[in-house]
Symmetry: C2
DNA sequence: GTCTATAATGAGATAGAC
DNA sequence: GTCTATCTCATTATAGAC
């Protein structure tokens, strides 16, 4: 353990201060990428918002593209965990036998509720993250990032939906899933439209409305 | 009519060549704004794509923001016309008496079909326009443009939907309308996801699938 | 790890000749 | 209407001191 390490390995653990700075930078990047998109947010803006010098952003985040990918990936794992935990909990509660299918609405709820809850009640960071994901999801340029971060979990839910709708065509289910994700993301990007019309709805109301819409859509 | 005109009025009609150049510029801008977003597409790129000098883009389009707004507005009127014509034709065919409500599915079809048909079969320009609208619709920065271009027609359809669903809450209808528009736009931005899964669908198939999804959602 | 300074590039806009 | 040339500013990235 006292031998020399290769140059590209970390020589020692980063300090607490370094970690805090790094998180401030990632938070600022998340916020600005969400507000203005990838090209609209400059490294300088991010540095200023984080209260550091521009060079530090490059130091912690690498190139601008790498920084973007890192920020997207950062909360993706947590989101996946929340979704899969919700699914596991629902299965455990249904408990009868391991292979019985969950009701469709419950599957959809496990997918939608964590996202909506976090983006609406998880503070400014999660709110920004929701809008960030909307960017990722609507621009083919980030297709690879989206696949890495979200496809594995999506696949799990697609299978679960297929089990809940045994007579439905797999292709139609996939199309509906894309529609559902779009509608879900519209809560982040177009909430002003909805809230401006139906005043002061809670996250639970919105979740229920979206669930009604999507469940009926899947069944059709 | 032979008097001198004020300086900011057009002294004479633009030449055919000028109009053709202007349209080339607008087409190129539409394509690049759709592909890379507002900040991702530079005036220089647009000029190169149109085969003109950069100064000409400013000449015809004004500032970059004005150019963007112009390109969005350009096809918006045509789209509105197609939608309202479809609605009028459906009403004329139902013909019974002028105040009877159209069936929900028919109203939604009149709204969705023109957009889907144009963006899928209207050539590269309309395809780009669809992706452009997805940008406009997901970024609050373009809220004003969106309202100017699309709200009047949306209002007409919202009323028609409310007539088709007399017992439904107006606020819920509005929320569902936002979900529907999101799902519609996802056909432009995420078609690779859907098509990659359900192979070789026609525009009519996709329209029907989206209609099934949204009609059921509204009824829920 | 953090900072200053700067390199290298590209951006949007416009003046003025033709 | 179109083009050349140029202004001014912001961009990402990095080298090197501390």
């Amino acid at each position: 353990m006292t031998e020399k390490l290769h140059k590209n390995q970390r020589q020692r653990a980063p300090s607490q201060r370094s970690l805090a700075t790094r998180d401030r930078i990632f938070d600022a990047a998340e916020q600005l990428f969400a507000d203005r998109g990838f090209e609209g947010a400059s490294i300088r803006d991010i540095a200023r918002a984080a209260g550091v010098q521009g060079a530090l952003v490059s130091h912690h985040g690498g190139s601008k593209e790498a920084l973007f990918a890192t920020v997207v990936a950062r909360r993706a794992e947590e989101l996946s965990t929340l979704r899969l935990q919700a699914l596991a909990a629902a299965k455990a509660q249904a408990q009868s036998d391991a292979e019985s299918a969950l009701p469709l609405r419950q599957v959809l709820h496990c997918f939608l509720a964590p996202f909506i809850h976090q983006t609406l009640h998880g503070g400014a960071n999660w709110s920004a993250y929701g809008r960030l994901i909307a960017h990722v999801s609507s621009n083919p340029r980030w297709q690879q990032i989206a696949q890495r971060c979200f496809d594995p979990t999506a696949r799990v839910f697609l299978e679960e939906i297929a089990k809940a709708l045994p007579e439905a065509d797999t292709q139609k289910i996939s199309a509906c899933f894309v529609f559902m994700v779009s509608a879900m993301l519209s809560l982040c990007t177009s909430r002003w439209r909805i809230v401006g019309l139906s005043q002061a709805e809670t996250a639970e109301d919105l979740t229920a409305e979206l669930l009604d819409f999507c469940e009926a859509g899947f069944r059709a």
